[in-house]
Symmetry: C2
Subunit: 196 residues, 2 copies
């Protein structure tokens, strides 16, 4: 097969898209798998919220279920995940970045920040899970660090070093993929930490 | 306009569908409105989970956002609502019935029962909101009553009288439409009730 320049270019750009999608799905899949594991061993009850879809038109083909023929993804009003752990309400957003230097706030909606702040006000546990894909490192960071930085008009991002300093690196294993509840234990359930 | 018999029949059946849909949506809308009110006055942080959609095919029209052109409603893996109230995790399912005699368990999936049981095991608050539309009465009933009845192989439903006896009638008002958190206060936050 002859590699025409145009053909080659198309292939390359497709590969990039696929890779970036896989990367985009990578963290979500790791967390979903971890949550399934945590549920199966009765450690926690945490689910990904479904992506909201604005359904515009539905067909009802004979003898089969309703078929959505026009719909659009809506911006989620809250965060990716919530649930119940050790009797406490848990809520978090998961994000990946390809940057080596920082996690930019362009990646996060203002109402998501507001929601995380509300969770804390109502006595829940709120945090972010941020993966720096180029370092292959995933951090759990309490929402307050991100809320404070986000509200500081001069800041448009949080530096990698700051995430490393204020957050906790999540250990990875076969099951669960991301042992993030061990971090939650240390951060929120130590007698001298948050006073729960 | 002449009312041809066939035309009339179509109209009638459409009206019934519309009414039953409105009734189907009635409780959900009332709860959603109540939750919006409760959020706005900072009393609680409770949301309806989006209905999960299995997206099969997406088009990307030029210069506009992704358009779902083939999708199907999936069975939700959990319940309709969850959130945070007075520092506690809250989870519930809302159901309407047109029966005057009972609420049939056909209306509820086994994995929803399992989920409500798991919520209780993990220290959360789990209940159902059941509306008997023909009485125009809406009850909040702790999940344990439904779980017990559901697990009893001989029972295929829970009688209206039993719901009335074990549940609490929810008062209605202009805002919030359903004052269900007052019931939650009485049922779960009294010192001598659940030991929270
Ligand atoms: Mg996310
Ligand atoms: Mg329902």
């Amino acid at each position: 097969m002859i590699n025409y320049p145009t053909k080659k270019k198309t292939n390359t750009s497709m590969n990039i898209t696929t890779k970036s999608n896989q990367r985009g799905m990578g963290l979500e899949k790791d967390i979903n798998d971890s949550n399934t594991f945590y549920r199966e061993c009765n450690r926690a009850l945490i689910y990904k919220k479904p992506t909201p879809v604005q359904v515009v038109r539905v067909d009802y083909p004979k003898r089969s279920s309703a078929k959505i023929v026009e719909g659009y993804y809506k911006t989620p009003s809250t965060t990716d995940y919530n649930g119940l752990y050790r009797g406490k309400y848990i809520d978090f957003e998961a994000k990946e970045t390809k940057s080596k230097a920082s996690f930019t706030f362009k990646n996060i909606h203002e109402h998501q920040i507001q929601h995380l702040e509300d969770v804390q006000k109502h006595g829940g546990i709120a945090f972010l899970i941020i993966r720096f894909t180029l370092y292959n490192e995933t951090y759990l960071i309490d929402a307050s660090h991100i809320i404070d930085a986000y509200k500081d008009q001069k800041q448009k991002s949080i530096r990698y070093e700051k995430v490393k300093e204020c957050g906790c690196l999540i250990c990875e294993s076969f099951t669960p993929r991301l042992k993030y509840l061990d971090i939650v234990d240390n951060l929120y359930f130590k007698e001298d930490s948050y006073g729960f």
